[in-house]
Structures are given as C-alpha cells and as structure tokens.
Symmetry: C2
Subunit: 414 residues, 2 copies
C-alpha cells in the first residue's frame, strides 16, 4: 500500500514491449490520451498521472488470448502494478472502479488484461465504514460459536407461495439449521411478494425462537430498486429479522453502500453473475481484487463456492477466495466467507484443513435436505463432520459412533 495512492496489479498480454504497453495503460487511465494534449504540463503530470510501479515479465505465447488486439509475432505477458494519486478520484468506490477497471479492458494494445489485486489507501476507510457485523456480529445474531454457521437455501428456488415457504422454513428451523436463505431467483414477484413472504417466514422464525431461545438467521433477498431495498430492509428490522441478502452485481456498489448506511442488519452478498467477470483467464477480475470493493461497500457475508463444488471453480481458487475474505484490509473489513454449492458433510475435513478456521458459513442444499434420514439428520451429519474435523478424527472413524454421518457418507460419497 502506498499512502495517498490507489494501486492496482494486472496481468497484461501484449504484442508490444510490455513496459511500453504499461505506460499506455497508465496514460489512458489518468492524464493522457494517444497524443500529448495542450494543458498536459509536466507539473500536471507530476501531480496527477498514474505511475508504473513495477513490471515483471511472465511467459509469452505465439497467439493472442483475446481477439482484435494489435497484432504481433508474439504476445508477451507481464504482471504490472500501476498507482494513481487517490486525489484523482477521491475516496469513491465507483470512481475507483472506473479508474482501475474502466476503458483499459478495451485498449487495442492488449490481447489480455486481468485485474489481480487492488490496494486502497486509508482515505477509503474514512469514507466507507465497511461490514457492520462481519464474523463476530453474525455469530452473535445467529447464536453460533466455535463452529461454522450451518445453513441451507430454499428450494425449489421459485414457485412456492409465502405460506408454503414459511411451512418449509418451519421444518428447516426445527431441523436445527442456523441459517436459511432465499434463493437469488426469489425476489419480489407477484407469486411471492417480498412483504408477504417476510411476514409469513418471520412469524415462523420468531415462534420457533420463542420455543428454543435461539433465532435462526434468515437472509431475505431484497435485491431491487433503491427505495424498494430500503423499505424492505426496514420491514425486516421491524419484523425482528436478522439478515438481508443482495445480488451484488445486480445492485451495484453505490446501492450496497447505501443499504449499509441505512440498514442495521448483516448484508449477505450473493455474487451471481461473477462467472462472467472471471471465467476467461485473460480477462476480467481475480476475486482477490473484486471482493475488496464489496467489503468496503459493506457486505458482511460473501459467496466463495466450496470444495468440490457443482460449478467450474477449482478448489484452489475457492480456498484462496475464502482466505481473502478473512484477511484484514485497512485494518479490518473482515467478512464471513460463504461456502456453498454441492456441499455436504464430506467436505468438512478438507475445508477445515485448508482454511484452518471455523469462521465461515457452510451451506448445503441436497446434502442436508435430501439426507436419507431426514433434514434434522442432515444437519446433524454436517455438525458431526465438523466436530470430527476439529477433533482431527477421520470421518469414517467418527461415523462408527454417529449414524447420521454414517448415512450421509453412504448416501453422498462418490
């Protein structure tokens, strides 16, 4: 981190000298354009121009990774760090995004350009309070200590009425789940209006909490228009709910930051759409860079996939992403990684071994609700698997004395 400067690190691919191409990036994204223009004085450049801080050549390729770049005989890759005076854009996340990830993706000089990391200077911490609950606040509201928060997702994703959803929620809460979330496809449609669904679900959640003394956390997907999101956040607070969820790419940075300022509940950040920004290795974003924007904006939980997930993300990437969520930035801003997608008891030991923490949300769909002995047994099997992981006992050994885990291993092992 360079005080007073915003820095960003990229992998670039170019048919030119990478050092020259890096200068083009720096110029395009600050004071320059193709030619030196009147008014671009040395003093102005000194004060406002982006700088190339470092450049390291990597591999090269005889073919370009992306089409329509300036052609050449070979395409050289390099890791490049640029920096900008933070006074160029002020401590503003949306304008920082336009600076480090704006027009440069379209520059003809590059046949590949991917943002690996970004470092925000302290001015951003003064402007953005960040996660309001994070790991500790979420644990407090969910009443879960010393183990992962175990959760599930309402399925079918869409089509259930508010009362049908609430009836399902009662079963899930009684089964012992700590956390339940709307699917990201469930929003505020006429077959399940947000307010009616929230009322029906929270009636059940509160009734069960009165009975047990612990309230399950339900994340209501309030993704929508600005006023609608604030109105729905207020409704959830009034009804005694403890979490809201937002599809971050649908909402955008300013809407998430606005919600953070006006809502006294944890924000569950769903990253659907992320694949479009990351799946092409030569383009877009690494999660390390991307998640920093959303943490500053104020999400408390952030989806990371899970080990052996049903999507196409490799395990190493999942582990790196979850670790990033738990790595402090600007002295704090820690968010809870949400491990999900194809999860069941079976991944608990590896997840613990690779992350070394229980500060995570562990979401299972079929791995809990399709457990052969029922949903409560599904929850028990996941709890047992984490107990085994924490005790360093192999799952198969632990299963000898825990039938729910044993049934899960029999049903779901491949």
């Amino acid at each position: 981190m360079i005080p007073g400067r915003l820095t960003a690190t990229y992998v670039i691919e170019t048919a030119q000298d990478p050092a020259r191409a890096a200068e083009v990036m720096a110029g395009e994204q600050s004071t320059g354009t193709f030619v030196r223009v009147p008014g671009e004085t040395d003093e102005l450049r000194e004060r406002s121009a982006a700088r190339v801080e470092s450049l390291q050549e990597l591999s090269e390729s005889p073919t370009p990774s992306l089409p329509h770049a300036r052609p050449g005989s070979r395409y050289r890759r390099a890791e490049v760090t640029l920096s900008w005076p933070s006074e160029n854009m002020g401590p503003s996340l949306p304008n920082a995004l336009a600076t480090v990830a704006g027009n440069l993706f379209e520059l003809r000089d590059f046949s590949g350009l991917r943002l690996l990391d970004v470092e925000f200077p302290p001015e951003f911490a003064a402007a953005y309070p960040g996660p309001q609950f994070g790991v500790e606040g979420t644990r407090r509201l969910a009443g879960v200590v010393a183990r992962p928060i175990i959760g599930t997702i309402i399925k079918p994703s869409v089509g259930l009425s508010p009362d049908e959803t609430a009836a399902m929620v009662r079963n899930l809460v009684r089964a012992g789940l700590d956390f339940i979330k709307d699917d990201e496809l469930m929003a505020n449609g006429p077959h399940s209006p947000f307010a009616a669904r929230a009322q029906a679900i929270l009636r059940v959640v509160r009734e069960e909490a009165d009975r047990t003394g612990r309230q399950a956390m339900f994340a209501f997907n309030l993704t929508g228009e600005i006023d609608e999101m604030l109105r729905h956040a207020e409704l959830i607070e009034q009804l005694g709910g403890t979490c809201v969820m937002v599809s971050i790419h649908s909402a955008g940075l300013p809407a998430v930051a606005h919600l953070r300022r006006h809502c006294a509940l944890p924000i569950h950040g769903h990253r659907n759409g992320w694949g479009a920004l990351t799946r092409c290795p030569a383009l877009g974003f690494e999660f390390k860079a991307w998640q920093k924007f959303w943490r500053l904006a104020g999400v408390d939980h952030l989806h990371c996939n899970g080990l052996r997930n049903k999507f196409c993300e490799p395990d190493d990437s999942v582990v790196a992403s979850a670790r990033e969520c738990l790595t402090p930035m600007l002295g704090g801003y820690t968010v809870m990684p949400v491990i999900s997608s194809g999860q069941w008891a079976g991944q608990a030991p590896d997840t613990y071994a690779r992350l070394g923490t229980v500060d995570l949300m562990y979401l299972c769909g079929g791995g809990i609700v399709a457990h052969p002995m029922g949903i409560a047994a599904g929850v028990a099997s996941v709890r047992q698997a984490w107990d085994a992981a924490l005790a360093g006992i192999p799952l198969t050994d632990y299963a000898a004395r825990h039938e729910e885990l044993r049934a899960a291993l029999e049903a779901f092992s491949q």
Copy 2:
C-alpha cells in the same frame, strides 16, 4: 417477445448434448437444482419453470473455449433461447439480470456461455419509464437539428482545477461545440470538487449562451454514492445545466433507475468497464442484450465506440451497437448512440453510410482540439464532413471548397 415471459438467447458451448445442457440451464435458473427436490411438483414446474424455447446447433470444436468445464471429446456450440414466467422475478431489472445472467456463467456444463439478446415483456415498460429525453429531448436541449450533435471530452482527463477546466470550456464553446463532457476519470476528487467545477463551468456555459442564444450541453460526471449523485443532479439543474453523466457499471442498474426518477436532465451513459464483459467471445454479453437493461433503467445516451476507433472493437460491432440504440424496444426507449474514440471528420461519410441517420452524438478528441487551424476549425471540419456525407459528396471533393476539412484530411488521414 412472448407475453408474460422474459426470454433470453445465448450461445452455449458444451461437451454434452446441447439439448440436455439447455435443460440444465433452464432448471438451474428457475425451479430446479441438480436433483428434483421435495416440493418441486409438476404443477409448480408448469407454473414457474424456465422453458427451452428453441435450440439450433452451430459449429463444434475439439477444445473448450473456457477452462474447468466438464470435459468431453468435442465441444458443441448452439444458440439457445430460454424463457421464464415474468412473475418469477416481477418487473425488476436487477432481478431479471440475476435470472438471465446469474449463476449460469459458472455452470460446469458449459465451456462457453454468452448472452446475445433478451426480450422484456410489457410489464417492464409499466415499471420503468426509460429515457426521459432520448434523441428528441437531447436535440431540443442542445439546439441541434438535422445533423449529429458534435462534441468533445475535457482533456487532460484529470489534473485541471475547476477554473482551468472552465477556461478550457469557454474555448470549446466559442469554437462551436454542441456538447462537451467530463472524462469518466474526472469525478469528485479534492483537486476538482464536483460542486466547484460545476459552478465554474456552468457560469461560462451560461455566459456564452447569453451571448449566442444557444447553450452548449455539458455532461457532468456525477458517478458516486446514491445521495451524492442526487445532490449533484439537483445542483446541475439549479445551475441551469442540461446533462449529467454516469459510469453505468460503477453505478449499477438500481442507481441509474433512481437517478432517472429524481433528475430532470438527460443521463449520458458511459460504459467504461464494458470490455471486461464482452471481449472474450465465449463469455459474457453482446451489446444487444446489455444495452436493453440500461435503456429500461433510463439512460438517454449510450457509448458505442466509433468506426476505426482506438479501441479493439471492430466496425461491424460498432455499427450493430449504434443501430440497437436506435431500434425501439417495447414501443420506444430509443437512446442516442454516442460515437467516440479516435473520431475526426474522416469517419463521417462511412458512419452516415452505415447508420443511415444523423441521430447520434459524434465525439472527437484530438480530431477537433488538435486541428492544425485551431479548435473552431476542428469543429468546422467535422460539420463540413457531415454536410458532405448528407449531400453524398466525397470528402476530398468537398474539401476543395472548405479549407478546414482540407486541413483535417491533410493532418489526420493515414
């Protein structure tokens, strides 16, 4: 368009039978998950499931376009149209985005997935008023008829003080420019606070308008936090300005729709960051699909690059994009295409020939301000080029009697 249904068309690439893969997409993005879950009744599926409306096989490849997909011996491509009951997500742009462009980009079934087009049902028109000014309203405010609106961008992009910027604006207005915009890198930083810059610039713009009877349109980049954007939009209205600009990817759909509802000025939509969503041919979005979201949200102008631009977008793509902006959707919602990047007088005839309209903004940087006879001559050369294009006279002929155009051809032809 299918009444009551949201439709989306993709190119997919998969190692499976494409018809089977399309069913996976439809299931994942509506009622289904990997396995049929309890509660997913036939009746619920009938009412809420996404449908595969059509599928046409295209080419195939021995290698996958994107990594980490389920492997196979060949990767088959197909164009697929899915549809969803619009009651699933209600008439909500952010939730429509999560539906048609959410988790599906990460599905392991696909080694390529790109959204080509989306069709919104009429409920969306009832929910979103769309562009408040569009082509006609912008022309009225800018006082320009029967030719393109000719504009430029403040350069250097960053580093000038408010007074230095205002002095430059005076020169640009006096040179005859119809439209001037902030660079997207110029926002609300401490070296040029938005309010101070707006006051300085609009003082000059109003003084010149009093003198000439026609007010140049200045697009102020108010990209920022929600309250900040509304406050700045109100300031521009109070000061007599006629346009605001927003970096749409930095702002997000709900923020743009919110601005549309609270601001009585045209919204100039800057698409910086677009490259990350479109440059990989196997992933992301075609502009045809993407621009529809922003038109519904309410932008009045939308950037499209220009012919022979300095970026890596081919001319055919530029032409298709500009045409889309001018193609009505839901009976209206036409926005003004912004032709920019490397533009000067030279592209006017081809631009007119290919688009067949003058309903566009034609933005030149160096092509106007670096004209060898000065900025006014730069503007004159572009006006002359469009006059020639409209009259069907070759530029070189027209230049014989128009020295500004002649000088531009000599300076900028390659």
